[in-house]
Symmetry: D2
Subunit: 371 residues, 4 copies
């Protein structure tokens, strides 16, 4: 087995998420970052190459050039990773796919639902693998919950509460990282809902295996002068009739990255939180409360195959992110990777953002979520 070669689009100087993709892609040594259009400014792109410690001759300032040049090399890239702001997801992914390169992209899939539908067409036409880094579904214990719920551990699902509190946008003086995220031109129509609400939505569907069919959304731009929402409360209905609550906020002072989910059925309940990701709580109907921990003998294949350390040696965000890349590498090799977020997850998420933003703006009450 040889290492797969990755070309990155985006992730230039000052970006947070570029290095994270690099860490994640390379952690298991199945993938190697070898080229990139880290910036549309060729000098800045080369500066990034220096930081990534890759060959500066493979730092491009132009996407078309990279695709062409890498295609021509015998050791050229095998796939492309898109880590730009949202509005560049579609053009970047389209160019790569049309040039014959599989694509893994940061979430959300695109800036708008229409773009996502367009991209879906491109993906299907290309017939190439497409993946999305919904990081939090990469946590082994999240996958264990999914497996147990699918196997009936909670009985019939009744209730889901998924929350994603952050506080870093509680003030108007946004820093560099925040800048594009609060700009409708680059982020798309959703602010908080598209940045983190969509993670919560994806996580809820991933863990429970149930699809959201209706929603009520109340989105607000709380910080004076902000153009996009920074606080979201969304009520959900799932296909099986279960109820859900999805809360996401970026103005809750002091909250860091507090994604958490609780699921209840008629036979039990489970809860997990991202900031302490190596265990979850499992309540049984008979009153027993178990803590399921990474490393436990009872864990199934979905979790153990994506765990790198023994119990008690905490894994974190980068390892979860790496699991998404590992799934993607498996797909590129023709193996199965049932947990990899792909087109369907991407389209559903974009429909979620779009529906929530429009329903909230129109004060439309309960609306259907259709994809």
């Amino acid at each position: 087995m040889r290492r797969l070669r990755m070309g990155m689009i985006g992730g230039g100087p000052g970006a947070f998420i570029g290095p994270v993709h690099r860490f994640a892609a390379e952690l298991d040594r199945e993938i190697e970052l070898v080229a990139g259009v880290f910036s549309s400014d060729a000098d800045r792109s080369r500066a990034a190459a220096d930081q990534y410690l890759i060959d500066p001759s493979r730092a491009y300032g132009d996407l078309a050039k990279m695709l062409q040049a890498e295609k021509a090399r015998p050791d050229g890239i095998d796939f492309v990773s898109v880590v730009t702001p949202n509005h560049n997801h579609l053009p970047s992914a389209r160019a790569a796919l049309e040039a014959g390169f599989p694509v893994i992209s940061d979430k959300p899939m695109t800036a708008t639902l229409a773009e996502a539908q367009e991209l879906a067409g491109v993906v299907k036409a290309a017939g190439l693998p497409f993946g999305l880094t919904y990081t939090y579904t990469g946590y082994p214990l999240v996958r264990e919950m999914k497996a147990r719920i699918a196997a009936g551990a909670l009985g019939s699902l009744r209730k889901v509460v998924v929350e994603y509190p952050q506080g870093w946008l509680s003030q108007p003086a946004e820093g560099k990282q925040a800048e594009w995220r609060v700009d409708p031109e680059r982020a798309g129509a959703g602010g908080c809902i598209g940045d983190i609400g969509v993670h919560a939505f994806n996580l809820a569907e991933f863990v429970t295996g149930e699809k959201v069919t209706r929603l009520f959304a109340d989105l607000a731009a709380v910080v004076p002068g902000r153009l996009l929402d920074d606080d979201c409360s969304v009520l959900l209905r799932f296909a099986n009739g279960a109820r859900g609550v999805l809360l996401a906020s970026q103005i809750e002072v002091g909250e860091l990255n507090g994604l958490r989910i609780r699921c209840y059925g008629d036979k039990g309940g489970m809860s997990w939180k991202q900031e302490e990701p190596n265990s979850f709580t499992f309540h049984h109907l008979d009153g027993r409360t178990e803590i399921i921990r990474a490393g436990d003998a009872s864990l199934g294949e979905l979790a153990t195959s994506r765990t790198r350390t023994p119990g008690g040696h905490p894994e974190g965000y980068l390892e979860a992110f790496a699991n998404i890349y590992r799934d993607f590498a498996a797909v590129l090799r023709g193996e199965d990777a049932s947990c990899l977020p792909r087109l369907d997850e991407g389209l559903r998420s974009m429909a979620f953002i779009d529906t929530a933003v429009r329903a909230s703006a129109a004060e439309a009450g309960w609306v259907d979520l259709t994809v």
Copy 2:
């Protein structure tokens, strides 16, 4: 100072809340339970007197009889405590007030809003003290939060999330305790919303000092065959424009009594949970996170005056409950007790239940909360 003498209405054999009121009333020795109509069955009432270790000759089977007999004694009761199911709150409190006795009553104030308004008239006509045992406002750390928020610790309030998860009604086979709570005849129009949602509502207004002015309610009877709601999601708007989320559920398997509240302003955030009530977290805008603990030197009078043990010696539910009685005793003695829940809190809570139940049933969208 002499001990005040209390007569109880309700709290007969098998009741959970009667003994709790007794513990709470007597903890500080300012009040003594001496009489009661523990049941409308005189034999059962006497059996309860045996359990409470009070004089059996003062266990009555009839309220009018108790009020008359106790009034005639030189050592007769000073006030009445109403601990019956909701539908008996109004007649019990009215009879007592009209006989000249101050009343402290379990929450919610009555079974319906109309009854509450009627009772409010009786209270005003009688000109006697009236209190409600919104227990959770009795926790010293909750009062500390209230005091700090009132003093500006959070700046301008932006967001409140108050949750009250329970799991004990997740199955249809309800036991004794649950029985009247799921019966519209005795509980009133609200199930979960009236039993625990109302605590969450009261706590949110108490801690923040802001009033709810609008709400969106989604109430459900999840367990098959149940007549009253057992799961509630309510979105809130406060008078100052702050947003709120109020979640209450009795079908979340494994949750015990997980009331918790998080409040955020433009200068900070605070969070507290009832199951570990002796501390709260305080996030400052500059990134500092403090744990404020019972016994800390920084605590103010509202908290320290209602704390009985040094830091690290946990106080719990009974002590919080006792603080409500201590407030009530203070009022009876003509002292100040700014935290005691009274008519206003009672009426607002009943309006909350009534509005939420009707709005949810009508799928009415956002509605005003008026009292």
Copy 3:
């Protein structure tokens, strides 16, 4: 059943532990405080009576007088509670016992081992009930651990770690509460070891059912100028060969009342901490981790008979303390109360203090603990 009448010795103005004994004794209404020698100064004793809201004519300034007067009354006290500093435990208890009154005393039993042995003789001669308020054995979950370990849940005991960190004596400027505790004349030979180490010792033997037979002690007076130990590290051997570690300190800045215990056998492990007393963790040999919570259906009689609230409604220190008084009341009524700490626990604890202090001072290495 009538309420038992209690006379208190000690607990005058400014004392912390007097009111705690009052709360605890009266919580279940089986006992009533009616008299006391709250201070040897008659005026101060009456001032305390005012605070306790008891009849001032039964506030005495002299123990002999109280015993005589109360004996003569038809409604006189049924027993005596000793809550003085340690050096007064022996004379107080002796006088009460010799006057025919059962005694419950704060711990440690006396100021010195010799006094304890003397008192043991008095108790045996009197043939009257004698109890000690080792508070922490009153927690329902502690009793549940004891019951499960006795039933074999851990298999053969191998290791115990019991820790009692506090920080309130980390500075030399001791306040009122601290004063007698750091004075050898009043506290006895042990400082921290006698104040809190002895709680840890008692808890370890109570929970495990095993007796300590040898120990190695390293006691220190860390704060400059202090005469008694304020920091203790003690290694233990139990009769069955299990090893133990007992740590107690009063100079660990920021620690409140952090008593905790972990027990391991060849089949499992358990851990509990006093500051969150309503649950414990139970590790099974097969890797499962359970949280056992107050209110769980699996709890046994020892725990449920001493629990007053449903699960999730936290009980705390006063309720645990009250359970000791409830045990004592049961004994006075001729019932069984297997958990009540009595002479044997008192003597073993005093031997522990005495042995540890002497062994540490002599740097004697491992020494036997004999009683």
Copy 4:
């Protein structure tokens, strides 16, 4: 800057720690694994190369051969990483150093103190960088504690409690990973003390900046038939007079990797635990309790320079391990890396093991720790 090339000794099929070194070395892309003697069996070595995805022609079955061949290549290794069982640390490191390669080695430095002293001579003679992977000193928050304590945040150090509970060796049927660790021929004279006790020792000296000068050790082989200690209790004295307690155990059923440390001075206290490594608690003398979290604005250079994700995106064990490699890479590049564990830490740790094992066996009481 080019990537440094690493050759590994050990880490063959079935080993846990080899892949961990690989993850850690490569995480920041400053180092690349390119060669190895993964096993003394050439076939097994090649099998490991397959798993590591490195060029099979650089998988050697003989150390001398690797050193010679790699030296001859223009792209040969820059340094050697020793990840064998303890008894091979000395011969491996010596051969590499004498061939001119810097060495980073797993801890403990060697199997015995005599070997460590011998290796120290070799290191000094070679004049080459030498590092040890005391992983837990790589956690950013641990480094923050070190920096704050050095800056006086705790005042004068008084007390350290460092605990390292594990349960994975609680049964005699040891699996593959455990095998060499319980064999005196391969592990050295210390079992638990050398495997994890030494981490606790190193952490205590690292965080506090104080050196241990005396100790009392009580080591036991608890599991029947075990030849090396599996449970250790060690009391410590530091050079400044502070007291310490060091507990390590591998028979505490259910404990995973519970390393934790609490430090107290006359001005404050701090505590941290490895299983939730991204924060620590800081108690101030005035009663304030702060939670210091990864990402906080108040963190200093030692922590922030070794953090890869924003606050709330948890980092874990691999990231901490990678920080040691990053320090080592910095040293190889001639930069400063004050936190890298080197000879001094290695020798002190070996002296700690040696002294503890001998003192415990001889029941020698308090003994000096000299290096």
